[in-house]
Amino acid sequence: MNTPSSVTPQEAADEATDAPVQQPLPLAFINGEALIEKPQDLFIPPDALEVILETFEGPLDLLLYLIRKQKFDITTLPVATVTRQYMEYVEVMTALKLELAAEYLLMAAILAEIKSRLLLPKRSADDDEEDDPRAELIRRLKEYELVKQAAEDLDAQPRMERDIFAVQVDTSDQVAPLRIEPDVSLQDIVLAFTSAMKRAEAFEHHVIEREALSTRERMSLILTTLEHAHYTPLESLFTVDEGRSGVVVSFLAILELVKENLICCVQAGPFARIHVKLQSNEED
């Protein structure tokens, strides 16, 4: 992430500027207690102990804040300065008796490690650039900064309940839910019929023929026709355009209905018109 040429002078400059105010680096702090000096710019109300952990979303967030505050460029992370400031904040946390989150301590260790590696003499001038111990931290900082930005963008995105409201309109009147009836296949019916008949051994002699079916259909039809009429001329139950077979079917249906005592035929005298009516009408 860094060019080696820029690293060394920058690093040198850091060390130089920091030199007068450089605190004795509290490596000792990680093991226990060390210096206590509050950073002047961070206001911490004495009764709000958790303010730091609430203000910062973690060590990366705190580091970013320190870098931004000093207007440093992440890509040329001035480890010495940032490490010193970071330690100061962490010190404040311990001073306020905060239970230090492990993540903050881990970051302190990482910073200390990077700093110590930078202080070691370089083996050669054109050392492998990937050897920059800061590279991984810089990558993480850049990545985190993006996540932070993304979270802010997401928060700014118009959202339901806050910026936009769902529209709800009622139907004009009670709309009854449409009931989807189950599918039935013809074969279901034939199978059902076959199995019902098979069980009813007593009915075995009733072989259902095509002819019988059309007769039975005609029986239903005639019953429907006669339902509300008191007397219907017999001939009106026959339609010429059905042809001979139609007349036969109707005739068989009428005979069957008479046999089953569902209708009755009335003839006033010999050769007079025959009238039919529902059997039930007589008793009404």
Partner: protein
């Protein structure tokens, strides 16, 4: 009190009625969204009237009901909108199918006659469901004690199964033939014993939709 122009007022009133749970009264408008605006009664009436007119040609209408204004769908669309809340009825039971089959093949038939064949009682629910589906109807009453209803199938029944007439209903023997020709050979022929166990029915006979 702030000012609001007429177009903004219309938008605000419109959106308020839309996002509210129930009807919105003028008073509620004034107490909530219009609280900080100076709006004359006449202006509010004009906005509501214009909104009502704006929606006249649309799929929803602005109407005034007892407790205020609300949007509702156009009356004439109700039959179509009911499809949004469609629910699937459970599959028909064997009892239901047998009852239907007996009515189809042996009509006109009484409930007692169906029970005689099936050997068990036919629940009223079955008759009710089949009647509601408009597949069976009462065509008369048998003149025996109790005058039981005579059931027959309807035109809608034939239409559903794409049958020109009841005559076209396959006979039990036709069906047996198809079964033999199909993927389910009669075990008695013994030609393909390995297939005998299959109980799958021939697809060609299915008449759905």
């Amino acid at each position: 009190m702030k000012k609001i122009n007429f177009e903004q007022l219309k938008q605000l009133v419109e959106a308020t009625i839309f996002v509210s749970d129930g009807p919105v009264s003028r008073q509620r408008l004034r107490e909530t969204v219009l609280a900080e605006f100076k709006v004359a009664d006449k202006t509010l009436s004009k906005a509501l009237n214009e909104l009502t007119l704006d929606y006249r040609p649309r799929g929803i209408q602005l109407v005034e009901v007892a407790s205020g204004y609300r949007f509702q769908s156009l009356d004439s669309l109700s039959p179509f909108l009911s499809r949004l809340w469609q629910e699937s009825a459970p599959r028909y039971s064997r009892a239901m199918l047998e009852t239907l089959a007996l009515i189809a093949y042996r009509q006109p038939i009484t409930r007692g006659e169906i029970e005689q064949v099936r050997g068990v009682a036919v629940s009223s629910n079955i008759i009710k469901t089949l009647t509601e589906r408009d597949w069976i109807k009462t065509v008369g009453h048998k003149e025996v004690p109790g005058r039981p209803a005579l059931y027959a199938t309807t035109r809608a029944f034939l239409d559903y199964f794409s049958l020109p007439s009841l005559d076209a209903l396959p006979s039990a023997t036709d069906f047996a033939d198809v079964m033999r020709e199909g993927s389910n050979p009669d075990p008695s022929t013994g030609s393909q014993p390995s297939d005998a166990a299959t109980s799958e029915q021939p697809k060609s006979m299915t008449v759905n939709d």
